[in-house]
């Protein structure tokens, strides 16, 4: 069974804004019955050009219906310029997250909104100008490239989770790989945790999680292979309190290890402001 958040369940069991707006200003239709999910979005603007009424009809699984419901909630009251900025990540975040394999549901919501806005502006949604890469699910190269860039997708599997492309006969896998290569070059983008470290400020939760991950992955294996061990005691602001165990606890070089190895690694992978302190028993 899928591990859906309570918010996903709520928006599936009690979907908001189901139906079709009468005499809509914009209509967006994406997906198809054959593909397993489809969404028709209709909206109406008020005098100030804000989305006054927006409704959806969706054929699909629980997360597709919940994503559609979330989309209408997020878009309501916004101008089209504001609504255009809603990303598939915003939809997923609003729902408290979606299983990776279901991220394409959030992408479908975003695309329906785009299609409806384009419809309002009288722009035709042209798929013909672009190559259809995945013939099983009718996904274009442009779409794959855009979703991959926005969500920093680096593997074919992730592209399938987010766009469905490559999830059928798999004949297009080389083409998807080519698109990813064109986007990122031979080097995949830095993993998420390193990006966070370089840029935004971390929340406490993120920091604790990152410190734990970095300890497990980068720091503990070499220490343990020398017969030592290290325990994370507490995190106080930028202070990381650790206790040394095993052979480390009586090693004269342990303070050197703490500064030049443990602290250096944590600064590299979590935050340059961190300081490591030893807690004595």
């Amino acid at each position: 069974m899928w591990d859906y958040t309570d918010k996903v369940k709520d928006h599936f069991l009690n979907p908001r804004n189901v139906g079709e707006v009468e005499n809509p200003d914009g209509v967006g239709e994406v997906g198809s019955l054959a593909c397993g999910d489809a969404l028709r979005l209709t909206f109406k603007l008020d005098e100030q050009g804000r989305i006054q009424d927006i409704k959806f009809k969706t054929f699909g699984c629980a997360s597709a219906i919940a994503s559609s419901s979330a989309l209408t909630e997020l878009a309501k009251g916004k101008t089209l310029e504001e609504a255009e900025k809603i990303s598939n990540q915003d939809l997923a975040e609003f729902l408290g997250g979606l299983p990776e394999e279901k991220m394409h549901c959030s992408v479908m919501g975003k695309e329906a909104l785009e299609a409806a806005i384009a419809n309002y502006r009288g722009e035709a949604v042209v798929k013909e100008d672009f190559e259809i890469v995945c013939k099983c699910f009718g996904v274009t190269d442009r779409e794959i490239e855009r979703v991959a860039r926005e969500n920093r997708l680096t593997t074919i599997e992730e592209v399938t989770d987010y766009t469905k492309a490559g999830g059928g006969c798999q004949a297009c896998h080389p083409k998807i790989a080519h698109i990813l290569e064109g986007l990122w070059g031979k080097q995949p983008p830095e993993p998420a945790e390193q990006r966070v470290a370089a840029g935004k400020k971390l929340s406490n939760l993120q920091k604790i999680r990152l410190i734990q991950e970095t300890l497990e992955r980068e720091i503990l294996p070499p220490i343990r292979s020398d017969g030592g061990d290290l325990e994370l005691i507490d995190i106080d602001g930028d202070k990381v309190l650790v206790a040394l165990r095993g052979t480390c606890s009586f090693c004269p070089q342990s303070s050197f290890t703490l500064k030049h190895f443990v602290e250096a690694k944590l600064r590299e992978f979590v935050s340059p402001d961190l300081e490591v302190e030893e807690v004595k028993p």
Binding site: W2, F12, L13, P15, V18, E29, G31, S32, L33, A34, C35, G36, D37, A38, L39, R40, K57, T58, F59, G60, C61, A62, S63, A64, I65, E101, K102, K135, C136, F137, G138, T160, K164, G167, G168, C169
Partner: protein, 407 residues
């Protein structure tokens, strides 16, 4: 909320009397049946009884039963054990609707140079036996075709198929995991060479299975180790579970008639009532040749996972062949092989009953399902269009329909 369990093709309740029979073998009777002392020897006697009980369920001789860890192992052992025995032959015949335990073994072998023929099925899920006759060659090492389909319950004329294969001197294996315990099977009258069965589909616990190997069939062990199971499957016998499988076999034999009368009537009542109450409902599979406990229904214009979630909310457990439930993006390979229309392939629900189900269980489903279907159809963009008689545009079909349905 009462749990209404209608997913018995996925797994069954361990019968309380089966569990009861197993318990002493976890506690006091822990000896190794291979040991040369009284303590292990007494366990060996119980093992012998269990082997007789399993043999009796399928009309086999006890020496033809090999205990395994599950149905999947039985299937793997049958296929690989035969290929090891005929190393010069490189062709394998299966059907398109096999369980992954056979299908993916075949695909695995294909990547290693074997030639695989997957027999197609018609809209009813039935095979063309002429096609089978046509594809057999001197190079064919094994034909493996299931007895009954796990998703639709469709039963193949397995004795007839086995006879065609035997006539050509080719070994024949059947994955009978869904059939054993639900319909009579008699190896004494059948030309089947090997048959897989699984404990947890017939009221034994998970983690035990068996492979029937007809006397005189060439077979090399798949799990290589000690002398257990007459050298056909290494590893110390999983005594408590084997005892459980033996008792479950006896339990199923005793309830076989009930399964084919009362349970069948329950299934039929459920199916008929749902077909009456819910428009645009399709039965998937050959209704004339079907397991007594299974019905697979497609509700057009809606998606299966949503139906399951709403049923689950009412305490009803079933399963679906929709893409979303599997984590894959395409609906069930069985429904696609049958060419189920694209309007229906994603909205399939399988109800599979057991002797533990009651009239009340069925009444609940008949009561709660029609409003669930209507609720989802009210959310679906296609239903109102269909009701209004609007033409199916590209939005509906996604263009290349034939590809989606038969791909």
């Amino acid at each position: 909320m009462k749990t209404i369990y209608l997913d018995n093709n996925a797994t069954t309740r361990t019968a309380p009397e089966v569990l009861e029979a197993m318990l002493p073998f976890f506690a006091d009777l822990y000896g190794n049946p291979s040991s040369m002392h009284f303590f292990g020897g007494q366990v060996a006697r119980h093992l012998k009884t269990a082997r007789e009980q399993v043999a009796a369920l399928i009309g086999a001789h006890p020496s033809e039963i090999v205990f395994t860890s599950c149905g999947t192992e039985s299937d793997n052992a049958a296929i690989m054990g035969t290929l090891y025995s005929y190393p010069e032959k490189k062709h394998l015949v299966i059907s398109r609707v096999e369980h992954p335990a056979v299908l993916n073994v075949a695909h695995h072998l294909q990547a290693r140079g074997y030639r695989i023929t997957e027999l197609k099925v018609d809209g009813q899920g039935q095979l063309d036996l002429e096609e089978l006759r046509h594809v057999l060659t001197e190079d064919t090492a094994l034909v493996s075709i299931m007895t009954a389909n796990n998703e639709t319950g469709v039963i193949f004329p397995i004795d007839e198929i086995a006879a065609i294969v035997r006539e050509r001197g080719i070994p024949f294996h059947t994955d009978a995991v869904q059939a054993v315990g639900k319909i009579p099977m008699d190896m004494g009258r059948s030309p089947i060479d090997m048959l897989s069965l699984s404990g947890h589909k017939l009221h034994a616990p998970k983690g035990i299975g068996a492979l029937y190997i007809r006397k005189g069939t060439r077979f090399a062990p798949f799990v290589v180790g000690g002398h257990q199971e007459a050298g056909r499957r290494g590893g110390t016998e999983n005594v408590p579970y084997i005892i459980g499988l033996g008792h479950a076999a006896e339990f199923c034999l005793a309830h076989l008639e009930e399964e084919n009368t009362r349970v069948r009537a329950l299934r039929d009542r459920l199916e008929t009532a749902l077909l009456e109450r819910i428009p645009n409902t399709i039965v998937n599979g050959d209704r004339q040749h079907r397991l007594p406990n299974t019905t697979n229904l497609s509700f057009e214009y809606i998606e299966g996972e949503s139906i399951l979630m709403l049923l689950s909310d009412e305490g009803v457990c079933a399963s679906s062949g929709s893409a979303c439930t599997s984590g894959s993006l395409q609906p069930s390979h069985v429904l696609r092989a049958m060419g189920v229309p694209f309007t229906a392939a994603h909205g399939s629900i399988r109800f599979s009953l057991s002797i533990y189900n009651t009239e009340e269980d069925v009444d609940v489903v008949i009561d709660v399902l029609p409003p669930i279907i209507q609720r989802l159809r009210d959310i679906s963009p296609f239903w109102q269009d269909y009701v209004d008689g609007k033409p199916m545009d590209a939005f509906l079909t996604g263009g290349d329909v034939a590809h989606h349905v038969h791909g």
